[in-house]
Structure formats: structure tokens, C-alpha cells
Amino acid sequence: MAKLNMVKALNLALLQEMERDPDVLVIGEDVGVDGGVFRVTEDLHRKFGGTRVVDTPLAEAGIIGASVGMALYGLKPVCEIQFSGFAFQCFHQIENHVARYRMRSQSRFGCQMVVRMPYGGGVRALEHHSESEEQFYAHIPGLKMVIPSGPRNARALLAAAIRDPDPVIFFEAKALYHAAKEDVPDEIETMEIGRAHVDRPGTDLTLVAYGAMVRVAREVAEQLHEESGVEVEIVDLLTISPLDRETLVASVRKTGRAVVVHEAPRSFGPGAEIATSIMEGAFLSLEAPIRRVTASDLPFVGFARERANVPDVPRVLAACRETLAF
């Protein structure tokens, strides 16, 4: 057991999976000698060499496309796209091929690969370095979409993603990379993809969050508990797609109220699917409309104005109070 931040925890997962399985490769821009711009692949190049930890030319479609070929051959590439904002340079490869090879080849080929990308705001970064674009991937059949919320589940989910026979888009919240340390077991640990986690049990309101927003949700739950004894249940999705509707529905059948939080813009975002799933499964339990606390429907607003746009504790708190008072 060691106290690790998310960067170190992800690095541990990569290290252990590479030690365990010689077919696992790391591929991307600056992932080798430099260890990645966020240092997630640090030291892997030294340990495994440049053939397994591949510094590629600066070309996202090439990275993903070549990884597809490797996966079809039976290797298990773990690709790093330096920032999710650059992934549109390879979006066609992800949508046209990564997601579809199993279907197109009728399972003659799977596409066992992971695409890791740092996403989200809160780090005072430039355009294309701060966006939350999980909705695009969650919408694509054939992909799985995972967003961990802390060091321990990040490590376990990345190991699971690498072992998953289907392609996994793995978003890492930049705001969480160095935010906190957690006890992470030394021995390999995996978590089931497709299963949400009840991060805090409660009876009065379900707060649905993932990634960096789980931190916000925890603070809100704590404040509501302290000021008025409200018991908020936090559902940390962990996997966006396939969505764990069962856990969501079970929670709202119990609490009767739901607030969904995400950093992505509101319209057609994950909140719409989450709210509809709750409505379909727990309609008769609902005591109040389901609320969404999200970024506005705007392109990147500039980091100076980011705090006004991305959900924070006061906004989520206000939404929860209104939902409770409805």
C-alpha cells in the first residue's frame, strides 16, 4: 500500500500491466523519453525500451490508426492523446474504425485498445487544453467510456480497460492529477467497467457526478449534511458508457430526487441521458424535476472566466437546495 496521486497511480497500472503482458504497448506523443507531458508514462521508456513505449510523430490519426492495426494483430496498445482537445484530429479513426472493427469484421477482429486523454478544466490552461468532451465518445456504439475520480479507482479502471476486449476511451481529469493522494494497494487491482459506485450513501437526494465533479459533489454533500442533516447519496458513474442505469435508478427510487453534475456543455450532454434513464426507471419515485448543473452551451470561454462556467460548490449546492425544496 502506498499513498499515490492519480498520476502515480496511473503509472503504476501501466507498469504492472506491461510487466504482466508483453503485448501491452504505450504509444503517443512524448510518452517515451519525456514520460508524457503529465508524467503518466514516466520511467516506462527506461524500463521497457522504445519499441514498447513508442514516441510517435506528432499526428493523432496516425497514433490511433496505427494502434488499430496493432490491435488487429493482437497487441494491446495504450494510446495517449496529449489533450482531449486534440482528439478531433483522430476522431474519424476512433468513430470509423476503433469503435467498429469488431462489428465490421463480425468478431474476426476485436480492437482491444485504450485511448487515454487528459480532459477538463480547472488548470488555467489554453483553448483545447480545458474542454470536457466525453459526450462524443459516450454516444458512439462500440466504445466504452471511462472517467475515474481518484487515484485508486483510476489505477484499477485503467488496468481493467487494458484487459477489456473492447476499446475503451479513458478520460483523466487534469484537475485531479495532483489533487489528492490515496492509499493504492501494491498488488494489481481492477474494477468492473460499466459499474457506478455509490461514493456516499444517502436517503434524500441523489447527486450524480463523475471525474473532477465528484470532488465538488462530496463537498456539497458534506455541507448539506452539516447545515441541515440532509443525506445526499453520491453516485460516481466511473463508466459513462455503458451507463449503469441500475445503480442510478435504484438510488433515485430511494431518494426521489436527483441532480446531475458535469463539466461538459449542457445540451445533448451526458446529463440528458442520465436524467432520461432516471425518468424511465424511477418516474413514480420522483418528487422533483431532475436538475442538471453543467457548463453553458459555449465554446471554450478562456481560463480567466472558467470558474464562472464550470460547476462549482455554490452552484451545485443551490441546485440541490432547490430540488429538495420543490
Binding site: 504497448l25 519499441t51 510517435t56 510523430p57 499526428a59 490519426a61 496516425g62 490511433i64 490508426g65 496505427a66 494502434s67 488499430v68 492495426g69 496493432m70 488487429l72 494483430y73 493482437g74 497487441l75 474519424h92 479513426q93 470509423n96 474504425h97 469488431r102 462489428m103 465490421r104 469484421s105 463480425q106 468478431s107 474476426r108 477482429f109 476485436g110 456504439p141 462500440g142 466504452k144 477489456d164 476486449p165 473492447d166 460499466g194 434524500d204 437526494l205 440532509v230 455503458p242 451507463l243 442505469r245 441500475e246 435508478v249 435504484a250 427510487r253 430511494k254 426521489g256 430526487r257 424511465e280 426507471g281 424511477a282 413514480l284 419515485s285 420522483l286 418528487e287 429538495l324 425544496a325
Partner: protein, 395 residues
Amino acid sequence: MPRTLIEPQFTVEHLSILDSDGHLDSALEPPIAPEEQKRLHRGMLLGRRFDERMLRLQRQGRIGTFAPIKGQEAAQIGSVAALRRTDWMVPSFRETAAMLWRGWPMERILLFFAGYLEGGQPAPDQRDLPICIPVSTQLPHAVGLAYAAQYRGDDAVVMAYCGDGATSEGDFHEAMNFAGVWHVPMVFVVQNNQWAISVPLKKQTHSRTIAQKALAYGFPALQVDGNDLLAVHAASLEAVERARRGDGPTLIECVTYRLGVHTTSDDPTKYRSTEEVEAWERKDPLTRFSAYLRERNLLDPGLEEAIDAEIARAVAAFEASGPPDPLAMFDHAYATRSASLEAQRAEMQARLAPASGSATTAPVTNAPAQRSSDEPAPAEHQSPPMRGQRRPWRS
């Protein structure tokens, strides 16, 4: 400081061995055994006859849209025949002759163009990728396959096809660049058939040749008469051998012509002249190689009938097979279906079932999704109270 020349000027070779007038450069004639020559000819003829049969099937509404290959038989057979069975073939969408050579059953190809994905499934031991429609996007996959072969220490070579239009796409250039940097065992075969639907080559690139684009990425290339089977085959054997001995990728530009439509939805009379097409018909790769074999007494007089009979049997088998189960569409999206997809499948199953008692007891889709059978079912919740019956939290 004076400007200095840091690289010699490049040259691009053009290879032609058997020209359209039947002139043979015997010094360049590759040593191909007579039986192999007959096999290559058979591959071209099968490609041509099957293509013509497919066109009629499409016009009759028995299959859907496809991209005919007429005119490109030498470019495809000459190149693909340089591969071993253990090598990889990465097609785009106009490689029917090459696919037949690689062992794709005709029934399967017909099934694919009849709209069933089952037809796109390579056999378990077949090292071919399925048809890829977005132009050039398959090329990075070929690079990845070649990297993986090298990584595993296999001596497999990867041959990937694209057309002249594809060379304008970013993925073509990213694939070429990766292939050069990684020095992978790979052959790019560009079938330059002069037209990308309605756009001629001169609007596609300002380069004098497509071959020279590879030189910028640091690996060799040559241009061949793509309607000359001997030239394509000689160049391909050389490129495959180079790749196999670890000397990296090669690009072969096959200068050819699409004698027919882009796809069966296209009318080429709108954008190109009859004279141009007729000029290329005189360079027909099949006529040329047939004449070469005839001179050597290697042409089997009953071959065309035998091939047509084989095609007729395949068409009959394709049409005799019943439509695959619609629900099979749920079988290959993921290795394991999620609860949600399972529910959607059940919904379709109920919808497709004949109106009977069983169909009316279809699963309700808004019920919470089921866990897989090896896990305990979650506790059933009691019927929730209606709104208004529940005590608001604040009271």
C-alpha cells in the same frame, strides 16, 4: 552564406515490360513459371467476369451499390500475387479481384454487397482486413499491422491499397510518415485510375507523379504501367522482398484506368469523354496479358466458360441462402452485451416476433436493466408512492 544543395534531385522510375501494343522488353521479363502465369491470368479473368456479373446483379436489384474494378485487374492481381498467405492484405473498397485472389468466397462478397455484414467477415486464419470505405483511413492500420509483425518477430509483410484520390487525405500522409519513421515491412499500392469520382488526377495533386510522394517520407517508390501485369508483378515481388528482408516500405504507383463507373450510383459520361475511355480500352490489361499467353500457347480455351460456371454456382448459392437472423446485429458490437444493449435486443426480438401470446409479453424496456445471470438479482423495490403521498424532506 550561399545556398547549398543538401539533397540530390530525385528521379522516379517508370516500369513497363509488356506494352499495350504487345511489345515485350524481354530483358525485364520476370521469371514467372508458366503455371503461375496461367494462375495470374485466371485471377484477372475471374476478377473481370465476376465484376461484370455483379454489375448485372446490381442493375437487377439483387445486390446493392458496389465499386466495379474493370480495368484494374493487372494492378490488383500483379500486386497481391506477390504476397504469401501469411502476409497481410489491407484493401480499400475497389479490390474485388485482389480479394478473390486472397480466397474470399464469391458468395461472401455478394452477401456483403447485399447489405449483410456477415459478408465482410474474414475467415479465422485469413490475414485480410475487411473492406474499408473512408478513403485512406485503412493505411495507418496497415502500418500498425506491420509494426506489430515486426514487434512479434514475424516475417509477415503488409500490402495496403488506395486510389489516387486517397493520396490527398491526411491519413495517407500520416501513414506514409509513420511507415518511413518506423521502417516497417509494408508495401503501399496506389491504383492511380485517373479519376476520383469526377475529379481528375490533375485536380487532385500538383505532383508530377504519386510515386514521388514516398520519396519525401524517406523510402523508395516507383511508378509502373498498372495495366501491365508483368510490370506490376515484378515491382511488387521486389517491394515485398525488400520489406521482408527488413529494408522498409515501398510505394508502387500503378498507372491504370477505371473503365467503368466509380460505383453503380455514378454516371461517368457526365465528366469524361468517350474518346478517353476508348483510348484506355485499347490498353486493357486483360487483352494484353491474354495475347502474351496466347503466343506462348498457355491460354486454356475453356477457361472463360469454367469461370462463368463457377460464378453462376456462387450466385446460386448466395441467392439460395436465407437471410441471416436480424438479431445477429447485436452479436458483434461488443465482446459482451451491456445490460442496456441486452434490453434493446429483447425489445427488437419482441417487435420482430409474429403477433402471438409470446410477443405481447415482451420485456418492458424501461425496467431497470438486468445484471448478467451469474450475479444475484438486486432486491426488488416496493412500489413507490405517487407524488404528493411522499413527505417532502423539509417538512
